[in-house]
Subunit: 417 residues, 4 copies
């Protein structure tokens, strides 16, 4: 096991740890450690809500989830010699739930959760269809996940960090704040909001204190969106064995990581669609000097996915186009086309006996593939979503015999509005 | 070989054939043949531009491609007993270039083409960056494709029909015309247009003649977009061995097929991004009575992909977010995020010596994967594009040694504006 | 379609064709054509028994199959410039059943066969357990195979040539005859025989006539075994897209090919275990001058398998060790261990309702994997056989519920002894 | 983490632990714990030689490895309710090197070893060609393995237990001793021996003491060979996520496990061909009552492999036939054919600069596939071995350019004879 550079004690909150992480992006958040190119090290990661979501049969915690505290990130780690313009090479040597802790109250201790967030507290991809909060608890047995809230389905976890990235420069941070503010200003009262402003309330900024804390807290970017530095990309394919290349914007690169997922479908569509958990990630870093110019990488991660992701060879696929459920034609809108494909999958699964929110939770958590199929055939984009048939206990394919009927069981807990 | 129900003679134009196909959608286009559930049959397909694009080193044909004549479709085929509300089961038993014709002037005779369309004649996914017309000719050797216009790359074709679908009902057709007209009305002079209106000019409507022809030509929908009936979905995964389920909207279902692709990347991003060709497709049809209600499928195809698509295990991936190249923040726009991911891939490949349009042509034609990665992390969607590293003759991965340099050769022909 | 250098007329026997092939190995069999390095060409192939096995419900044809006439081979093809010591590069561009002929009396016309050969007429891998002759007819629908003689199973064909190779030199031929004769001499009356001697009866030797014919017929090697020149290797992985490298032993290399299989399990265990058919193969050849010494290849093919073989991700596996069914311990005998693994699979499948010969026929014809697992753990080798679970219409996995019961139907035809 | 039922302290020898395992098979070795059907539990495993092989640059330890002490096994675990005739279901939930110990003197602490054993101390698959002892040390970085003794190659580990099985009944044990003794008696002085007799010297038998120990030590079977109970099957495909079904021969089943491998090629051809290590395995057990009769499983494991084994899509393959290197023809001997295929691969790799023993070590340790290709084409079996091309740092495929030349470095340590 590589040296643990960022330890976490599962019995303590994220702010009571030996080393404090952060939950905002800012160049002035001090590194927690320096690592050498070529060095391997272990990082513990707290689940993104720092324990606010419980292993129980109520969705009240999801309903009132404290969005201001996410994401609990580990780091930053300064890489010796890394300078702006370099590419930071990050190998994901291993990643998994909290080691040696198979049960307990913290997600990652043998279990994780998927949430459908309420429209007025986060929302989600299909929030118009699913405005209420739901939760599903998933139990881990080895690398398999099953849920008492979603029967008839089990799958091998596609474990990955949902969020990893380098620190922005002051200039880049200013760009973020400006452009996201401009968007928000076009409809400032929208629910869910168009973007999230800097928010001192709930900010955790490593070892910063006093005036520095206040200044940085007022400027620092929220961690929800992916941006030029990587960040919350939620790329399910960044599994064990993946090599990622990040642009470097500040001296030392200042790498941070968190938001581990036991599994996730493409899109993470229920907002908290992955199976969320705390755990560990083993990283090895290196630097390609001047790599940003050499390889034309000015922003966003590029990566070589690992080769031990779960394999499936049979899929059931659904397609969608960019027409709203109200029949309005939109112009080449793949976001909408993917929503429609996912809604088709949900409609289909309900004919087998699932409740719609159970089907939605499956699409968020299971290793589904979401693909851009046609993006140029005016005015309709075509998007497709692929479900591995092997994850169902029954034959999920259409046939003249009609759908098998499953017992949806107690269902996924729903919170009052 | 199954019985050929729709034969084509490569030496004659699409309208001079023994049986005439069609290039518009309308319920009143008469079937060319009736098939029984369980029946297998062969269909010849003309390349979508009916021979207007040539195997040469000029892009003038692409520059002035006659958009009003696409897509040259084979059919419709009436399926005995199929009624509105049923699901039509279509097995793609085999699909390939024109059999027994390995050379000749028609795409599909041992070669195919990929075009970047000019902004004012079709446009494309990256038309702001690539407003001019380019062309690449690909030669087929077995199932491998190579191009004299794009050196250093070869790949196994992922052969599929770009377009297949059932006929719309009169009501559904009216819906299409209404919603697409409403969109077009919001910016009627836009180039490229927001949608394409019915266009009698160039219409081919099977055996219709006289007043029926005129009436139908005035109402019939263009075939460019995918819609509820399937249509031009451009799903690269509909390869040999795939089973597709289409909604049935008219008695007999009236299945049509065309726009064969030797290969295509997800999105078909250069508009004519696939390797276009004529050829054949062997189909077998069946009917699930009442299947639309039974399985909750009111629109759009669902399918079980085949298991002989080319396999790759190593990928180089790029990510993008929904910020424009001008730095404007958009709200959860996966279409834009995928554009940015593709532009990143193009920027990267140019550091190896490719000209930007060559890289763009590769992304359109090669078996790249385009995935929705994050679609809920306001305000940025995250999209990813995966290139199989094995298709390059050189090591395409980033390293401290810097990129290998390829000779771009003569490059892809470009047309004058 | 590449130029057809070796055409066959399905209505005529192998010896009545425009060009005559061969069914023995000898350096003096004259080439039927010369090809250039880099040239692509099409070759028609006759099924190995030249039509002696029929699409019916009797195994009498298998019982009395004329072993002296196999294998009906196409070629030899001389490659310009190839000399002893070179490596001949052979690309399998495409391979399939008889094109454009979907029904008819000749295997390859939409159907193929698998035979269990009687102990005294060929034998097979499990001839002690299955001394009688059986037959199964498989129907092709696209690339899928099903059989009226073996219900409950269907799979995608893994199409490949069972036999391909270069001509032996006179010296190499002499070596073959000497070593195989020496083996045979140790038990000359064994049934089945230990090896097959040269046999003028039934020999087909291309254009050779008269004294040359008689001389060559007396010396030429039978084509049953694989040898240094490649030959009847029955490697199911030599599918479309494969590149093979053969040693060159005579000027021109003199490449021959035949024994096409629609599908085969590893080992081709029922002797005629593959789904036998006639058809076509498109080849492209090249030469690596001096390649045998350069790459240390003195014998036997090396190859790069294609990437469009059928994909399966779920397998049911059986193991076996080198102890006979009578309980006798053998020393590190993988042949025996694989027999035992196959027998275990057969025993297992019979608990689902299959008759033993049906299970045996499945293992011969379906894309099963047979692997050497342990070969050093004295005294027992361990071999394993993997069945793709997706090929069964039912759940073939063990569970507490016990096996599903299938109806074995009419069963596979059996011949009287 | 499941409860640890068999803990090991890396600083103590196998016999000094809190709970003592065993290194022989016998029904009377007492269980170390009882588990319930459905229970998950963790088992620590010692590397098979209990620390006798060191992380250094000498092969003297391999030369004199104490064969009498292998294999250090963990268990037996009694499963409540299991009775003879049942099938024991064992899920491999997880398996890996020693957790939290990334460096140290014990194989499994961040490193492992592969040995070529000397002819007179174990031998191996190619002992005639490689009569001397060699060693290679492999370092683990995440799931990747590299070796200072074998440059130019790295691969993802295919981690699995080499040995797992249930206890034999007294009757079955007697059968083993009888048949293996009979074989040994045919050539009692052979080196390496034909089989290994019971050997009290070095026996470890759990908690047995005194007269019981002596009696059992005199009867107990060595653990080298795989047998009816599973045992040392060395099946590389029994990776994480695999479900295995074992016959039950004694009340409680008495499951034991050990001989963990970080990676292994099919066959484990250098005898100690895998990358040997200690570590942990998480198991879950269940019972199918009467399953042996229900499913026709009288002996040997059947299994459903997991779906997270490393994926490769490009392979370089070699073939071999059953003719000895001296030119002697053997009859359908797949063991020999596989030896010849492996020798061909070794000859090939030496043309790139590898020393023969380095190539041999690669074949033993890397995830190569070894397949039975033809087993019925008298007199030659055909076997094939597939190397993933991606594991080499250079292009390992044949071409007109000739082989790249690697620097073999210091090479693999060799021991004096």
């Amino acid at each position: 096991m590589p040296e643990v550079l960022f330890p976490l004690d599962s019995t303590k909150s994220f702010t009571e740890q030996q080393i404090t992480g952060h939950n905002r992006w800012h160049p002035d958040i001090p590194p927690v450690a320096e690592v050498r190119p070529g060095q391997s090290f272990r990082v513990h990661c707290r689940e993104w809500f720092d324990g606010a979501i419980h292993n129980d049969d109520s969705a009240d915690d999801v309903r009132h989830a404290p969005l201001e505290i996410v994401h609990a990130l580990s780091g930053p780690f300064a890489v010796r010699g890394a300078e702006p313009g370099d590419l930071l090479v990050v190998d994901i040597l291993d990643v998994g739930p909290i080691p040696q802790e198979d049960s307990g109250p913290l997600a990652g201790q043998g279990w994780g959760y998927t949430g459908i967030f309420a429209r007025d507290n986060g929302g989600g991809f299909l929030t118009d269809q699913f405005p209420d909060a739901y939760k599903a608890i998933w139990d881990f047995t080895g690398q398999r996940a099953t849920s008492r809230h979603v029967p008839g389905v089990s799958f091998t976890g596609m474990i990955h960090p949902g969020l990893m990235g380098t620190a922005p420069s002051a200039k880049l941070l200013a760009t973020w704040n400006a452009r996201e503010g401009a968007l928000r200003a076009t409809d400032p009262d929208r629910v869910p909001p168009l973007s999230l402003p800097p928010l001192p309330d709930g900010a955790i900024l490593g070892s910063l204190r006093g005036g520095d804390f206040d200044r940085v807290a007022a400027e620092a970017a929220r961690t929800a969106p992916p941006r030029e530095n990587g960040g919350n990309q939620d790329i399910k394919n960044m599994t064990k064995g993946t090599r990622v290349f990040y642009p470097v914007y500040v001296p030392g690169a200042n790498l941070s990581v968190g938001d581990l997922h036991f599994s996730q479908g493409d899109g993470e569509i229920t907002f908290c669609g992955a199976i969320e958990m705390g755990g560990f990630v083993d990283l090895r870093v290196d630097v390609i000097k001047g790599g940003m110019a050499t390889y034309g990488v000015s922003e966003n991660a590029i990566f070589l996915p690992g080769n031990v992701a779960p394999q499936y060879s049979e899929w059931l696929a659904f397609s969608g186009i960019s027409v709203t459920t109200d029949g309005e034609q939109r112009y080449l809108d793949s976001q909408l086309a993917f929503q429609r494909a996912c809604l088709h999958a949900i409609d289909y699964l309900t004919t087998f006996g699932y409740r719609p929110e159970q089907a939605y939770l499956i699409l968020g958590a299971a290793p589904i593939e979401g693909r851009f199929s046609g993006v140029v055939d005016i005015p309709n984009s075509c998007a497709t979503v692929y479900l591995p048939t092997a994850m169902f206990d029954f034959d999920v394919r259409p046939s003249a015999a009609g759908p098998a009927r499953i017992d949806p069981g107690r269902g996924a807990p729903k919170a009052a509005r």
